[in-house]
Symmetry: C2
Subunit: 379 residues, 2 copies
């Protein structure tokens, strides 16, 4: 059976492993350290900035894919030149690595998104505040995730440090209109090198403190669903995406969907699919990067809800209250990532599948409350 290598040993690589075991695919993980979340199966520790180590890791792989977007494009190009099937390829992945490159490409494709501009100076920032303020969003084009590298500002002084170090960020900052959204949602899809393309149902994503807290599937009016699927297809094809693509969207008061962020890998907004869909995002990603036919993506019931378990302090790994939470919610599927507890860190998640999303959300939140109980700084 084919062999897939994954750069990065986080929970996304971890959750590819059950899908690989089921399909009989061999997964090899290239991780940061020995105690990464994806420490199961064939596992190597190494530095993803070291081309020689990467090349050695790629020997015998049928496809190379990723748990994160941090491998520099120059290294990806070098691997591609060496004949390695890098999926998604460097030409696609650059759009997930660099938010300015992404905005420029999406503009070229004529897709709906917040007003934006590339800033190289304090004057640019002041101009953008004048046009779109009082508050605007400033992002470092590379390296941000889960709210990092993002600031909401009303004065240029609030990004004085970024402007001073602007060369570290590729000499440009991304300025974005602060969208007055009524909610956020995400469109997940997958595409193969042969061009097969499938979407999952549009989902509502609920963020707290810039981090995904809950996901509710399905979401949206028929028109919104059609629009989101079309967006995903245009992006996937326009950028040459291979594997899973997550498009994070703002929903405006008028119901319009504006593109917030892109990720070209399994994504937190798609964890519901492990039990909620016929084919999970992790299985689909493996199928896609190997150019196997894609699986069906329909929900297995009317609704699915995913509840993130975020670290509440540096000691609660949720294990203590696990039996109590399981007893409370026998229908809930519990996922723990075996990560060292840290406040705000994604430690695991709970999924519930059933006919009524409001009821599922209530059950999942109740189970989470039990897991959080007794922690030093319970939320």
């Amino acid at each position: 059976m084919p062999i897939v290598g994954v750069i990065g040993g986080g929970q996304l690589a971890r959750m590819m492993q059950p899908a690989a075991i089921n399909l009989g695919i061999t997964l090899r993980v290239f991780a940061e350290d020995e105690k990464s979340s994806a420490h199961l199966g064939a596992y190597r520790v190494g530095d993803y900035l070291n081309l020689a180590a990467l090349k050695e890791f790629c020997v015998g792989l049928d496809a190379l894919t990723f748990d994160h977007e941090h491998v520099p494009a120059s290294l990806l190009e070098a691997l591609e030149s060496a004949g390695i099937a890098v999926r998604p390829g460097s030409k696609a992945l650059i759009h997930a690595q660099n938010k300015l490159t992404m905005r420029r490409k999406l503009a070229e494709l004529g897709l709906p998104m917040p007003a934006w501009m590339a800033a190289t100076s304090a004057a640019d920032v002041e101009q953008f505040i004048a046009n779109h303020g009082p508050e605007i969003v400033v992002k470092t084009p590379i390296g941000g995730y889960d709210g990092k590298g993002v600031r909401v500002i009303s004065s240029v002084t609030e990004v004085a440090d970024w402007l001073a170090d602007i060369h570290d960020y590729g000499s440009e900052l991304l300025l974005e209109q602060k969208v007055d959204f009524v909610g956020e949602c995400a469109q997940l899809s997958a595409r193969t090198p042969s061009g097969e393309f499938k979407t999952w149902p549009l989902v509502r994503t609920i963020q707290r403190h810039g981090v995904c807290s809950e996901v509710i599937a399905p979401f949206g009016s028929p028109a919104q669903r059609v629009a989101a699927e079309k967006l995903a297809k245009t992006i996937s094809e326009g950028l040459g995406v291979v594997g899973v693509l997550a498009v994070e969207l703002f929903e405006t008061a008028s119901g319009e969907l504006l593109i917030n962020e892109l990720a070209m890998r399994p994504h937190n907004s798609g964890h519901f699919s492990i039990e909620g869909s016929k084919t999970s995002q992790f299985e689909q990603h493996l199928r896609a990067v190997l150019d196997l036919p894609l699986g069906a993506t329909e929900l297995v019931d009317q609704a699915a809800v995913m509840i993130n378990l975020l670290g509440v302090d540096d000691s609660n790994s949720f294990v203590e209250h696990y039996p109590e939470a399981m007893a409370l919610a026998p229908e809930a599927k519990f996922h723990l990532y075996e990560k060292t507890p840290r406040k705000g860190r994604k430690m695991g998640h709970i999924t519930l599948v059933g006919p009524d999303s409001a009821e599922l959300l209530k059950q999942g939140q109740a189970a989470r409350e039990v897991l959080y109980r007794g922690s030093k700084e319970a939320k």
Copy 2:
């Protein structure tokens, strides 16, 4: 998180791994050789007849469980004396290891089963043929599985070799009435050390050449379902079972269910539960042996069908036709066990979940036909 050790590295141990990864449970496998099906994660190769090796393997485990029933009771008792949480325990497991011990216990519990007797001589066999023939079933009490250790005979000469070596089989053979059944079915359940007990829906099992070929869930009239659940509960409690219990049943022309075999571990008749039930038998087994609360066992849709992939020759590992089968059946979940191909060997399975079992069976069989195609001795 807790650590579970599994003796045996077959596909049952393999399929425990995804459930363990999801729950954050660590699974350690003690396998026959380096190329066992469950070669993923923490893995040790050793001889399960070697007590010292077993004891060493058990260091740090929260529970020890099994992929097969072949560890002798004396070794299990020695491990229990050393304080290891052997689950199911030796006192329960002996009934799955020795078919005569099982028959005696089930008789004591007053449960319905074929007429049977323990034979120690040719005269016993002749007597039983006279009473229940022309054909009867003879079984070696220990060591049989998938049709091995079972013969249908009409003359004592057909088991002359077993009678000659009867001391190798504990000095007794099991004789059973050859039930004129209209079909077979299986009742899966799980029980925790604390006594929590849950069943999955009764399933129809279709055997070919003594090996499970297809499983259809759910099966049976309301009365049959109630009867089967009651049987499973009586057996589970009466024998002190911990973990998954599979009760294989004959269905007679009058609709009565007679106990054929027992297995105290995840079982081929329960593979449908991976995608077909809220909680799979593999997850439930891990929960049960750790005395965690059991998960919900309802089907996620109206029906689920499991199609075994049996080796058709010594070379077809199904990989060649995998893409074609996946394209044909995008709703099918494919499972390959990474075992060396051998005619008749369980190499993998396909599961389909949906509203109509007849349709699912058709789809699954069509996908299997594609995988079998081109093999030297296609079935």
